[in-house]
Amino acid sequence: MDSGRGKIRMNMEGDRLSSLPDDLILKILSFIDTKHAIRTSVLSSRWRYIWTSTPRLDFSTRDFRTLAKFSKFVTGVLSGRKNQIDVSSVKFILIGRASQSFIKRILNKVLNYALSHNVQQLNITCRHGCESLLSRFSSQSLKHLTLIGLTFKNSITTPPTWDMLALTTLTLFCVTLYADNAGESAGLFSNCANLKNLTLNSCRMEWGRFNICHPRLSNLTLENSHEGGDVVALQLKNLTIRNSRGIHQISVPNLASLRYEGHFFPLKVSAELLHLEMVDICLLHPSDSRADAHDIVCLLQKLHNVKFLKLNPEVIRILCLHVELISHQSSPFANLKSLKIHPGYYVPLPHEEHVGYYV
């Protein structure tokens, strides 16, 4: 009896989902991948053509058993979609064996469609094979770009001469950048003047050293790179360097937060970091040599206005080993509010009180 009454109540409420306005249904569909979103077209006549206005497209070979089916899907979506409607985000994932010509053909189709429909966010995961397409990248609407090459060896290679004035976020993973013409490049991604967030992870520069010079850059993350480089960014606020070998020359007077993790190579800071407030230094396996300890002390001495400092036990250990370097100097940390130590394995510290005095 109860279930019967329940059924009647549900039917009286009716179909709340279909009675939502179109833009809310599209918003809900944007949380579902494109393939399943298109399947809603059989639900009822109301749903038949809603998917054609979806602003988000994602194509992934993971969802299809063969490349031929994937290719048919891409064609079907691009031709079935309403042409006047812009896309806001396109995601393209191609994993698995595919011939270069196939990759070129399909990526060309997707990129052309995206760029001609004022795409704002583009996410491409692909192996090498798409160099020529990416090198002629030009878009006035693109704001966020993510390129993911699959492995370090099979990375996407592309010259960084894109022409994207609106680009604010760029993330590259396993990408090899090479110079179009011989000689030093003017600066990485120099045509993207509005770049605010840049992340380079496992990227390789063909000419050995990178040169980042951006007036508006405010967040920079460099991870897993073999080369050092120069960073000149007047408005940079947050800098994160992880597992990067090579010496970095940084000129970032307005830096507010610095995170350094990895083997220690001296960071050459050209100007005083007056605004630096948060520092997080995590050194893995530093050598016990005096020279390294000296470099560490020099770096710590530059951190005048630091308020929040986080170190790992290795740094403390080195400072204790070479306590003579710091024992007759006053502490540079005039404004320190908090000092945290990364939890790690506990190393017995013989001269804790010296370090405590320093800090």
């Binding site: 949380f31 298109i38 399947r39 009822s44």
Partner: protein
Amino acid sequence: MLKNLNSKHIQRFSYKYLPQFPISPNSPKLGFSRSQIANYRSNFPTTIMSSSKTIVLRSSDGETFEVDEAVAVESQTIKHMIEDGCADTSIPLPNVTSKILSKVIEYCKKHVETPNADEKVAEEDLKSFDADFVKVDQSTLFDLILAANYLNIKSLLDLTCQTVADMIKGKTPEEIRKTFNIKNDFTPEEEEEVRRENAWAFE
């Protein structure tokens, strides 16, 4: 000195410090309006317990809710109304019932109290709050979607839409129809045609 204070002095004193509070014997208003209290509070913060500004929201069924301004401006709609100066007495929300409005206020309060969830604990706590928040019947869920859309609260709209999307994901069309009571108004031929049209999505 107290002896010398007469009503004339008090009147002048009040007029000087509360320009928006005219004491006229012919004034029909009794009591203070909310903006007058707020103005008084802002001029004499030490005499009142809390000096934070509060906003009054009125639901479609006439119930009023007093919330901190910081909580109310989670809604971009309310924020713009305040900035445009339409928030003098109370803000009417004719599209939101009191039941839904109280839930929305609960959501905004929680999210304002947990600023930049930097700490892991705070982030986990917020996530579990969100997960419990959407464990409601379908009718309430859709009302929340419409309210979040009308009030322009992005995080709540994303949360509720994601919940509905999770209910659609992974289901066959028949199961989706059953879950949401969608009436299939296709004839069998029409349905077949649609499936053929989009066959590449049904692979």
